[in-house]
Symmetry: C2
């Protein structure tokens, strides 16, 4: 039987520990292609590189797995994999991560990890973004690995029906303390931002974004709530940003006389 | 009566012609603050600057309107305006654009113009992103100006109810040929990408993203359809990316034994 083709990417950069975990799992389940940024690209959201050329180089750092580093954003990596490297080959699954740090709630918009997975889902590819709630480079991905493998197996065998994208966050807990997985909706949590002011060595003023994520109001059934309870959160997600409720309530805006 | 406070931004950069049109309209309707990128930031999506400091400078290029150029992304500009410059002041409306080029369909994800407006909407601010279907620097914004003014007036006086974000695209037509405005849903149109290969002056290979937007399948009721008919398209939009349909159909993914 033909093995499934799995595309692996991330936003922490091709050398980040988190992607190695996903690559190991992907190798157990199928044929693997890795295309990932050549440097950290956290917070890049759905950015694409249109005004500059991209540089792409093969790298031999994953024991025989075909892999490329790309100078662009996570979304660029997915586009390059699909349209340049794989062309007509069918990608059975795209996995992105495992991100060093959580991407629940509104973070799905800022996250390069999730945007890469979303880009693949726009192309009709079943896609999963994985994030572990530990920002450190030395994060322990062992529990995340177990859940990533279970979910990837299930999606490869059963598909995702008309939904093509999952935002998966894993609590920073030992495996035995994780209570299981929960299908959730995106929490309405947001940041309160602070700009730290400073003066650089040349006497010029700078501002550095240093916001705080506010977990208050993470209602039952949301991803932030599930993570606080010790569950892996799975948010089925979409790139259709239409507010269908807004379409009903704002019909009068057509009358612009 | 207190004048409304209007925040103006864009992604083409503070010197782009399109933002001048919005600033002119905003001045007619309220007090204006401009915070915009100090250089073009097209395709930046919802990127934020977290690993580098930001530089922000006041600029006196809009005849007495308070304005700042910022080294960051469009989303950074909105965060800076709200959390650093305005602090506790209530922003009554955020307008972004007028973008040089359309942002219908999936472009809402790639567009810095729309991401800036979306960032304001996350903060609960009524927000509108405007885009004209003409990429040229010399684009004629006169018809777009008329619709921008009508819509801004209406939103300032009537609000947007629970929906906080409008994606507005204006066809590249003379005012008298525009048939009016239509409330639409986001079209499921996508790009077919091509990477143009080349060799730089130093003999190094590069790839340049050069995709084509495929309008086929823009069903009736979508923004791409409305624009082709000669209407201004208004898509009420949301930052909640949950697929509520997916939550129903993928409940079985919780069973990861």
């Amino acid at each position: 039987m033909k093995k499934p083709l799995i595309l692996v990417t991330n936003d922490d950069g091709i050398a980040a520990p988190g992607i190695r975990t996903l690559i190991e799992v992907a190798r157990e389940l199928g044929d693997v292609l890795v295309v990932a940024p050549d440097k950290p690209q956290s917070g890049q959201g759905h950015a694409i590189t249109i005004k500059l050329p991209l540089r792409v180089h093969p790298v031999d750092i994953f024991k025989g797995v075909e892999a490329y580093e790309c100078s662009g954003t996570p979304v660029d990596c997915v586009k390059f994999a699909k349209y340049k490297l794989l062309k007509d080959k069918k990608i059975d699954l795209c996995v992105s991560g495992i991100n060093h740090g959580g991407n629940a709630a509104i973070n799905i918009l800022y996250s390069g990890t999730m945007s890469a997975a979303m880009e693949a889902s726009i192309e009709g590819i079943n896609s999963i973004g994985f994030s572990l709630l530990d920002y450190s480079w030395e994060a322990d991905f062992s529990a995340a690995r177990v859940y990533a493998r279970k979910l990837m197996e299930k999606v490869l065998s059963e598909g995702l029906q008309e939904c093509k994208l999952l935002n998966v966050n894993i609590p920073n807990l030992p495996l035995e303390q994780i209570k299981g997985a929960r299908i959730c909706r995106q929490a309405a949590c947001d940041y309160t931002e602070e700009f730290i002011e400073g003066t650089d060595p040349h006497g010029q003023k700078y501002y550095w974004l240093g916001g705080e994520f506010i977990e208050d109001g993470a209602a039952e059934g949301t991803d932030v709530w599930a993570l606080k309870q010790g569950y892996v959160s799975i948010v089925p997600s979409t790139h259709d940003l239409t507010s269908y409720r807004g379409m009903e309530t704002l019909k009068h805006l057509e009358n612009l006389s």
